[in-house]
């Protein structure tokens, strides 16, 4: 595989985490414009852990996920009663506040004669853990997909469990779910925290792939894209958001057929697709039909 193909595949994998995070919230009936904020929290936390605290990447990923979950739970707890556009705008405001906090975040220490650490709008350079361990791009890609496989597996288990059914019930009708004996508040918080952890996992991997992060990496474009990926791919299964990412990055960016016009083609296709299938390609009906065919 050439380097470019590996690069595109790695990016597809990394974006899949945020898309899956947006998907989890969509299934629970919440529309978030702010998952990029927790992606950023994950990226900054993991980078600080490996670069400045000398922690190993696997440990750093766990810390990053914990921070992402905590941040998301905090936002979730203050926005519990909000739905629809109110919730979307509140999450957007939270993510933008996080991005501005990254811009104000200066904490550099000298390591090996070089000042390292977050430097406001200048970003955070030299996140070299992966590079220094001699991990080749292909190996890192496999690491990303290994983690993604774990996430997909967890989702598959979830979809078959009672918890998964509760989350879908919450998404359909929160009042009804409450009457059915589901603890709506706890479930909402749990889903928000899990989605935050998932986005943070993607962010931690992204920081170490890119070796460099800056606040603008985590602006609204990332959040709205991941939401759109989940909606295009479909809300019936976790493969939906992954399909959404693969369609955009793999088919259009990767093949470069429509170079220069990619967004015009992609945008038009998505709008038409949604007119035809409002809950995405792999929507609940399709998934149900696919399952029952066996």
């Amino acid at each position: 595989m050439d380097e470019y193909a590996i690069g595109v595949l790695t990016n597809i994998g990394l974006l899949s985490f945020v898309a899956a995070s947006a998907y989890l919230l969509l299934v629970a009936g919440e529309l978030s414009f702010g998952q990029q904020g927790f992606f950023g929290v994950g990226a900054y936390t993991a980078a600080i852990a490996t670069v400045m605290l000398g922690v190993a990447l696997p440990v750093a990923i766990v810390i990053a996920m914990a921070f992402g979950a905590a941040a998301a739970a905090l936002v979730g707890a203050t926005t519990l009663r909000l739905r629809g556009l109110h919730f979307a705008m509140a999450t957007l405001a939270a993510a933008e506040m996080l991005r501005i906090l990254f811009e104000l975040f200066h904490w550099q220490i000298e390591i090996g004669g070089e000042l390292l650490g977050p430097d406001g709008t200048q970003g955070f350079r030299g996140i070299r853990w992966v590079f220094e361990r001699g991990l080749e791009p292909l190996e890192f890609m496999l690491l990303v997909y290994g983690m993604l496989a774990c996430v997909v597996f967890a989702f598959t288990l979830l979809e078959r469990s009672k918890l998964g059914a509760s989350i879908r019930a919450l998404g359909e009708d929160p009042e009804l779910a409450g009457m059915l004996g589901i603890d709506v508040v706890r479930l909402k918080l749990g889903v928000a925290a899990a989605a935050g952890a998932l986005a943070a996992l993607g962010g931690a991997l992204f920081a170490h792939h890119n070796t460099y992060i800056e606040p603008r990496n985590f602006d609204i474009m990332l959040g709205v894209h991941s939401l759109a990926y989940a909606l295009i791919g479909g809300l019936g299964t976790v493969f939906g958001p992954l399909l959404g990412v693969a369609l955009d990055l793999g088919l259009l960016e990767g093949t470069r057929v429509f170079q220069g016009y990619r967004m015009i083609v992609f945008g038009g296709l998505v709008a038409l697709l949604l007119a035809w299938r409002p809950r995405g390609l792999l929507d609940e009906h399709t998934v149900h039909w696919l399952r029952n065919r066996r």
Binding site: N11, L15, E114, E214, R216, N217, L222, H225
Partner: protein
Amino acid sequence: MRSLAALLIIFFSGTAIAQKLDGKLDCKYAGTDFIYDCTITLQRGGQPLSGAQVTVGADMPSMPMAHNIKPIKAAPTGTPGEYRARLDLEMTGEWAVKLRIAGPVREQLVLHYVFTESGTAPRK
């Protein structure tokens, strides 16, 4: 257990930091389609670094995972420490240029430049 210990050693061990590598970029606008002819200058400890294999890529700051250009190999110009590459960017503005360097040293550099229709300037 032993393999776990070996893994732990790999994960927790620090590596010796090599002498810092400096990279500079100077690009001329080729006139059409956001193609830039770039000269890359590499120095290590003040000495030009020759004989390296340099791969150049670029990302935009917003949505770096979606807007990137196909990495290309830079060719040595003959002057020590100088390499030449032709970048085909999608638009003017700020780009994070990524250099992957192999050969005498393995290194990875990210340089920030603003690309305009007259050339490049480092980001403030």
